[in-house]
Every structure is written in structure tokens, then in C-alpha cells.
């Protein structure tokens, strides 16, 4: 039977745990905080529109005869192959929704902790900088994963289900792995991108502006350099351009521009590495002003 105790302070008899997953409470709290925002919930629902549309596309692709009256000439566009999955995972709308959701739910991840001096509360616990970063990264990864990895794998399963055979899987046995690899790449990239932006300012509004500005200015810079130099390598300046080049390589389809995919991969990886080192330097239990 449970002990009946007087209200007040009592010593805790148990043993404090040395958990390996110290980051998890931070991730859980971050996800909960994001869902507390009504606008976030609405946008989160809207962001699944492409997935639903693509799912309908998968269904129609298997029932072309039934939908002939409304899908005339759509045989090519409704062809489900690796390019179909690449298109889904590198849709401008998906990238935009990731940015929008992260602006609402991710901009304050570190910025709010700086602003309200909560960092010292975290680091007064047996928590390392890596635990803290993993906790915050988990929030971004969760949402990016929900928008990319989960729908893409479901689309793959739907294709098998609607076709009623494993022929598609036997034709492209590497496709699930490609989906996982590219989604993981997107998760890592957007995590670094959002956390870096969030650690730059204490003001979440500036962070939101930064998240959109850097992304779209990179695309504008690409356009300017292309006009001046007429070189396809200007794509290396563009975040979405590089992501699409990597997607083309992972899904083994022809890239939009004749630029080696590994250059785009290197640019994005270098960005992630630099972000990681910047974040490690920036995060301290105490703000030391010299």
C-alpha cells in the first residue's frame, strides 16, 4: 500500500540514474512546446498535403485503366520509380514547409534558452553539451523525419500494397535504403541549419528571419552568379540546389545540372561540421564576458 505522507520536503530514497539518454527529456519537451502553438498544429497538418497527393498518385498509377477519363496522357508523370521518390523528397513545397515549421517550432530552441538564461539550469545538471545539443537536435529531426522519411517509406509500402506484388521492390531493392539515407541527410542538414540559426540570436524573431533569409538568399546568389559567370557550378551556392543535386545522386537519377554531386555533398557537409563546432563553442554553462 502506498505510504501516506505529510505535505512538505522529503528526502528521496532512490538512486539517481546515470542514463545514457539524457537528451530525451529535452527532445520530448521541445516537441511538446512546438505542439502548444495553434498555428504550428495547423501548418503541421498542411505540410502533409504533398504526401497525401503523392499517395493518391501511387494509387492512380496502379489503376490507370480506371482513371483513364481524368488521367489522359499522365502515364509518364504517374510513373512510380526512384525519380518519383526523389521528386517528393526534394519538392520546394516540402523544403518550404520544413522551414516554416522550424521557424515556428524550432527558432526558439536555443534562442529562448539564451534569452531566459535557462542554459545554466541545464548545465547545472549532469548534462554535457553534446546531450543538450542532441536533445535540441532531436526536436528538429523528429519533425523533418515526419515530413520526409515517414511519408516516403509509407509511399513505398503503398506502392507494394496497391500493386499486390513485390515486383517494384525486386526492380529497385536499394530504394528503401536510398529513402532512409537521403531523409537522414535532410534531417542532419536541417538540424544543423536550424540550431545554428537559433544560437545566433536571443531574439526568436531574428532567428525566424534568418532561417528564411539565408535559405532564399543562397538561391538568389546562385542566380546572380549564374547570370555573371554562366557556370553551372553556381549551384554550389544554393542550399536547395545542393540538396537537389544530392537527391539526384542518392536516387540514381540524372541531376538537373552537370555538376558532380559530391561537390554539393561536400558543401552541405562542411556547413554541418562548421555549425557543430560553432554550437559547441557557443554553448557554455555560463556567459563569460572578457
Amino acid at each position: 500500500m502506498a505510504e501516506v505522507r505529510e505535505k512538505g520536503y522529503h528526502h528521496w530514497e532512490g538512486q539517481l540514474q546515470d542514463k545514457g539518454r539524457m537528451f530525451w527529456p529535452i527532445t520530448r519537451t521541445g516537441i511538446k512546446l512546438a505542439f502548444q502553438r495553434k498555428r504550428f498544429k495547423f501548418l503541421f497538418a498542411v505540410s502533409f498535403m504533398p504526401a497525401i497527393t503523392f499517395a493518391v498518385g501511387v494509387y492512380i498509377s496502379e489503376r490507370l485503366e480506371d482513371f483513364k477519363f481524368m488521367a489522359q496522357g499522365a502515364e509518364r508523370t504517374l510513373q512510380v520509380n526512384p525519380g518519383f521518390f526523389r521528386t517528393y523528397l526534394s519538392l520546394d513545397f516540402i523544403f518550404f514547409m520544413i522551414l516554416l515549421l522550424m521557424a515556428l517550432g524550432g527558432a526558439g530552441l536555443i534562442a529562448d534558452d539564451f534569452r531566459h538564461k535557462a542554459i545554466q539550469l541545464y548545465f547545472a545538471r549532469p548534462l554535457t553539451r553534446l546531450d543538450y545539443l542532441l536533445g535540441k537536435a532531436g526536436v528538429v529531426m523528429f519533425f523533418v523525419g515526419l515530413l520526409t522519411l515517414v511519408p516516403a517509406l509509407i509511399l513505398f509500402l503503398l506502392k507494394l500494397l496497391f500493386s499486390g506484388s513485390f515486383k517494384f521492390f525486386l526492380d529497385y531493392p536499394w530504394l528503401p535504403l536510398s529513402i532512409i539515407i537521403y531523409s537522414a541527410f535532410l534531417m542532419v542538414f536541417f538540424t544543423c541549419y536550424v540550431l545554428l540559426a537559433s544560437s545566433v540570436s536571443k531574439n526568436r524573431n531574428y532567428v525566424i528571419a534568418l532561417i528564411f533569409a539565408v535559405y532564399y538568399l543562397s538561391e538568389i546568389a546562385r542566380g546572380i552568379f549564374y547570370v555573371i559567370f554562366r557556370s553551372p557550378y553556381s549551384i554550389l551556392l544554393s542550399i536547395p540546389g545542393n540538396l537537389q543535386q544530392v537527391a539526384a545522386a542518392v536516387f540514381q537519377v540524372k541531376p538537373a545540372l552537370a555538376v558532380p554531386w559530391y561537390l554539393s555533398f561536400l558543401v552541405l557537409s562542411a556547413f554541418c561540421l562548421l555549425s557543430f563546432f560553432f554550437l559547441r563553442r557557443k554553448l557554455r554553462g555560463v556567459e563569460v564576458i572578457r
Binding site: 505535505k7 528526502h11 528521496w12 546515470d18 529535452i26 526558439g108 538564461k117 539550469l121 557554455r284
Partner: protein, 303 residues
């Protein structure tokens, strides 16, 4: 011993914050007293492992401050000076999160969060967003998050700052109870002398990054000096000069009360002899009860 520090040095760039600090803290409540900028918060941050000392070594609860910060933080509760919280969370979720991060299992963290919030007087408002809390409530919340994992040692950095007199009294009573009845050692950092005198039986006075005095408050008051309060008729200057040459510190208050702090072993008859030599009449002579304020003024060298 809870805390043992030896020859701790720390600088912020060219500014020396701590200069060869040696410190030993045992059971009960200890006050860390010093004027603003004396190095109190820096010392606490070194003990928590936020800052690495340039020189020196130290142990907190038996763990090395340089290499075993993780173990220290598991056993220590820290109430920072700044107003800090996680926006968007209610008090119970916030406190439970802090408990979980200290190593409490999730369910236990939630249970203890409710308990400590009731204990610090936030029971009725524990489901309110912390963003909406008043300054006093935020102070209590900071105390709750420091207590949630049942620490062995509490670091309280200016716990009564930004509180009204009633709130200050209440939080001091809570801290006093924790230190005296809950078997939790407390290191209370403050520049408010009355707070330290009310709660602590030991004090460490820090000034310009150095330990100026340390020990039991009563002992320090007795051992280091004796205070006599005099009312005199006559010229003070010559009398003052002679006493100061004999090692005393002489102060005159606005209402012309003369305070004479005498060094250990000083024969009080010398005050009368000096007065007679300088043609000063001593009309009142009281061996005064020294306060922490007097001690502080003497070791820090301020009025």
C-alpha cells in the same frame, strides 16, 4: 567536508576575479559574503564546473572540480542569481524536467516536482505558465528546481534579490528550515549581511577575489576585534590618531557616536589613558555587541 578549495585562481581576461582562494566548508549553512564584484558568483561557477580555474585544485562533496563536474552536479542543487526559466512550460513540468535531467526517473521526477512546489509555496499555482509568474514566484521556482532531485548541497546565489520584504522573509525562512532540519548543506552567496546573519552559522567573506575572513560568525566577531562605543566631549582628532597608532580602527557616526574597534589582546584601559592624554572626557563607554556588519566593514575595509 563539503567543499575544499586550494589556491584557486581565475581571471576574466586581464581582470583577476579570484586570487589564490583557499576555502573549506563543512556541515550546515555557510554564508559567502562579499561586495558586488568580489568573486562570489565566479567561485560558485568554478565549484559547479562552469569555469575551469587557471590554477589550484578543489573538491566538492569529494569530487574534483576540474574532472568530475558531472558527479558534483548530480549531488548539488543550484539556484542562480539571474531570473531563468524555460518559457511555455508550467511550473510542474519545468520542475519535473529539471529533476529528470538530474537523473530522477520520469514518474518520480513528476511526483517530487509536485512535492517541492508545495514545499516552496507554489502548490496552488503549479499549473500556471512560468512566464506569468511574479519575481517572487520565480525565486521560489528556482529554489524548487534546485531541490527537486534531493541534493546534498545547495548553492544559492543571491536568493533574495528582487524580492519585497515579505517575500524575502519567507524565502529566508524556507532556506533556514532546509539548512537546519533537512540535512542539506547550504552555501548562501549574498551581499546582504542580514540574510547571512539570519541563516548561517559560518561565513566566508570574500573581497577582491581573496578570502578576507572565514569561520563561525560568533567566533569571528569575538576573536578578531572588540567594539566599544563612546560618547566624548573634546577634540576627537588627537585621540583618534593615538588610538589608530595603537592598532585600533576609529569611526564617528553622524550622531557623534565614536566606535572603536580594538585588535585582539588590546587593553581597554588604554582608551581611557589616551583620552586623558588628549584632554577628552569620556561620557559614555559601552562594550558593544558586534554585528556581522561591523565584521564585514572591518575586513573589507569599508564604512
Amino acid at each position: 567536508m563539503s567543499i575544499e578549495l586550494q589556491n584557486i585562481h581565475y581571471s576574466y581576461g586581464k581582470v583577476k576575479a579570484l586570487n589564490g582562494v583557499n576555502l573549506t566548508v563543512g556541515e550546515g549553512a555557510t554564508g559567502l559574503l562579499g561586495p558586488n564584484g568580489a568573486g562570489k558568483s565566479t567561485l560558485i561557477k568554478i565549484m559547479l564546473g562552469f569555469l575551469t580555474p587557471a590554477e589550484g585544485q578543489g573538491k566538492v562533496l569529494g569530487y574534483d572540480v576540474r574532472t568530475e563536474q558531472k558527479f558534483i552536479r548530480r549531488l548539488v542543487g543550484y539556484m542562480p542569481e539571474d531570473e531563468c526559466f524555460i518559457p511555455g512550460l508550467d511550473a510542474v513540468t519545468f520542475t519535473a524536467l529539471m529533476g529528470e535531467l538530474s537523473g530522477l526517473p520520469r514518474q518520480e521526477a513528476m511526483k517530487r516536482a509536485h512535492e517541492v512546489l508545495f514545499y516552496v509555496g507554489l502548490g496552488e499555482s503549479r499549473y500556471r505558465l512560468v512566464d506569468t509568474y511574479s519575481s517572487g514566484m520565480k525565486q521560489r521556482l528556482k529554489l524548487a528546481q534546485a531541490l527537486v532531485h534531493d541534493p546534498k548541497l545547495l548553492f544559492l546565489d543571491e536568493p533574495t534579490s528582487s524580492l519585497d520584504p515579505t517575500g524575502r522573509q519567507e524565502i529566508l525562512e524556507l532556506i533556514g528550515e532546509i539548512a537546519s532540519t533537512k540535512d542539506i548543506r547550504v552555501l548562501l552567496s549574498s551581499h546582504i549581511l542580514a540574510d547571512i546573519e539570519l541563516i548561517c552559522d559560518r561565513v566566508v567573506i570574500i573581497n577582491k577575489g581573496e578570502i578576507a575572513a572565514t569561520g563561525r560568525i560568533e567566533d569571528l566577531k569575538m576573536v578578531n576585534y572588540q567594539l566599544y562605543e563612546l560618547r566624548i566631549k573634546g577634540e576627537l582628532n588627537g585621540f583618534r590618531r593615538e588610538l589608530e597608532e595603537a592598532g585600533c580602527r576609529v569611526e564617528e557616526t553622524e550622531d557623534r557616536l565614536v566606535k572603536v574597534y580594538t585588535p585582539p589582546g588590546f587593553d581597554r584601559r588604554r582608551i581611557f589613558l589616551s583620552a586623558a592624554r588628549n584632554g577628552v572626557q569620556v561620557r559614555q563607554f559601552v562594550c558593544s555587541q558586534t554585528s556581522l556588519e561591523d565584521l564585514f566593514a572591518r575586513v573589507v575595509g569599508v564604512d
